[in-house]
């Protein structure tokens, strides 16, 4: 009646009896993966021996799709890559096309683009902050984060007409002029938001349980961070300067005053602090620009059909997750011959196995949280 031996065998398939190791599937449907990420984890008790990502559940082959879309069309597809920073994806593609065609973007459009990028960065970090706290078992921060993210989405909706996949940046500038309310609402948002960051620190950062869960978890050395091709807050948490906005400035970032946030801990807590402080830097950038939007055109005059000259063009931008590279190989036609998106998430995910080995399964969610994985960004 009690089929004990059978249950042992069934309960832990893949266990080899001697080491007591067994595998579990985290995902593709799992509360902590925030999307369809599938991790096959080899465990020994609670200790992780190996993490093996299986990707492709949301792979749409955007690179192949773009090969048959014109230079005006393909930008809309890229909003769906990293849907949390769709503005910045669009921006990277627009920059790449502009680089190829040598289009001079009007100053007004440049400022609007940077403003939108930084608002997107805040919105993305907001969602990350809420979701990460939720992964660690604190539900309330999620709602607090969404309250602020909502007001950014409202601002976006007013100007761009959409809340998530805005498709606002086009080659030559932005699609339409900003809404008359834009400046007023952004200023109002900043005024409220500055207080909120302190509130976040009170609610989560200073919490002793939270700090214990984060400190010393998922330590990534600077050498490994570079070798694994990590970028964005993940490398900056390890003390490696990697902010494309500072190192290879695009648009008007070289004229702006902001600090590249660096932490030297290399653990999850360092990565957490980098993102929190990055939000403050984004606020700083917005404050500098919001009253300084120059008058003029919001879009350069471009031909109806864009044709890139034969050659190869590569642009790098800093998204909320790290370095996004757009590599266009053109044969001179109206569509790209080959396009490659170097997504930050793909490289950041590859480090997960390295940092997760030997830690507890509860740490895995902390690591995944601070790597800030967005699955469509990884799968593309």
């Amino acid at each position: 009646m009690y089929r004990q031996t059978e249950i042992i065998k069934e309960a832990v398939p893949g266990s080899n009896g001697e080491t007591g190791e067994f595998t579990i599937n985290v995902g593709p449907q799992h509360p902590a993966t925030h999307g369809v990420l599938h991790l096959v984890i080899t465990l020994s008790g609670e200790t992780i021996k190996k993490v093996e990502p299986h990707l492709g559940y949301i792979h749409r082959s955007i690179e192949k799709m773009c090969e048959s879309l014109t230079y005006r069309q393909f930008i809309y597809v890229t909003s769906r890559m990293d849907y949390l920073s769709s503005h910045i994806n669009n921006h990277a593609c627009a920059l790449c096309v502009e680089k190829g065609m040598q289009i001079e973007v009007p100053p007004r459009a440049r400022v609007i683009r940077v403003l939108m990028d930084e608002l997107t960065r805040i919105a993305s970090h907001e969602l990350w902050w809420g979701a990460m706290a939720m992964d660690l078992g604190a539900f309330t921060p999620f709602f607090h984060a969404f309250r602020e993210r909502e007001s950014i989405n409202d601002i976006m909706e007013e100007t761009c007409g959409a809340r998530l996949t805005m498709n606002y940046m086009v080659p030559g500038g932005v699609m339409q002029d900003i809404h008359p309310n834009f400046q007023k609402r952004v200023k109002e948002f900043i005024r409220l938001y500055k207080r909120k960051i302190d509130e976040y620190d009170e609610l989560v950062t200073g919490n002793i349980i939270f700090q214990n869960r984060m400190k010393g978890v998922g330590v990534l050395t600077p050498e490994d961070a570079v070798s694994y091709g990590c970028s964005g807050p993940v490398t900056r948490g390890s003390g490696v300067s990697s902010d494309i906005r500072k190192l290879y400035p695009y648009e008007i970032y070289d004229k702006l005053e902001f600090d590249e946030v660096l932490e030297t801990g290399g653990d999850s807590f360092a990565r957490y602090l980098v993102r929190i402080r990055e939000m403050q830097q984004s606020i700083r950038i917005i404050e500098q620009l919001i009253d300084q939007i120059p008058e003029g055109d919001f879009q350069a005059k471009t031909k109806a059909v864009l044709k890139l000259p034969k050659g190869e063009f590569y642009t790098r931008v800093e998204t909320a997750r790290g370095e996004l590279g757009v590599y266009i190989v053109s044969e001179g036609g109206t569509t790209p011959y080959r396009i490659k998106f170097r997504s930050p998430g793909f490289s950041n995910l590859s480090v997960l196995d390295h940092i997760a080995r030997g830690s507890k399964i509860g740490d895995l969610v902390a690591m995944m949280g601070t790597l800030d994985l967005v699955i469509p960004d990884i799968d593309r």
């Binding site: 492709g56 879309l69 590569y314």
Partner: protein
């Protein structure tokens, strides 16, 4: 280092390398056989110190495949592009995943999308595509999928 200095330095390392003009960064064309030794030197050399492989991909030129490696140095902030021409019917190149760990994932992606065989890769399996896609390479130009692909 500037592009000119890099050019001189890399010619010293690999006299067989040829250089493409016109790009933003120094572009080096090499034979696939030279890649591993060049890669090791690029990574190790104190003056070059290319420790950041930020993009690894492949382009299908219908007659041949070409591997494209974008390398940069976190210390000196210079960037180069290395290209290697591969035979389209039997594309093979040495892996660099032990030099730059990020190559492990990117090479797996190129393996399934283009069918490039990376010799000595520690774990060359399908990463994104589901099982049963071995041999079908979606990002090659002659790939056809009558159901899911829409030609515009």
């Amino acid at each position: 280092m500037t592009n000119e200095e890099l050019k001189i330095k890399i010619t010293e390392l690999l006299p067989a390398a040829s250089f493409e003009e016109g790009g933003e960064w120094l572009t080096i064309s090499i034979e696939p056989g030279d890649w591993l030794s060049l890669a090791q030197q690029l990574r190790k050399d104190e003056a070059l110190f290319f420790d950041y492989l930020f993009c690894l991909t492949c382009v299908d030129w219908k007659t041949h495949l070409s591997m494209v490696y974008h390398l940069s140095s976190t210390q000196y902030r210079h960037t180069i592009v290395v290209k290697a021409k591969l035979d389209r019917n039997k594309p093979e190149i040495e892996t660099v995943s032990q030099i730059w760990r990020t190559a492990e994932f990117h090479e797996r992606e190129v393996y399934e999308m283009f069918g490039v065989n990376f010799r000595n890769h520690p774990d060359l399996r399908l990463l994104i595509l589901p099982d049963g896609w071995e041999g079908k390479n979606p990002l090659r130009k002659d790939f056809e999928d009558p159901v899911n692909m829409i030609r515009l």
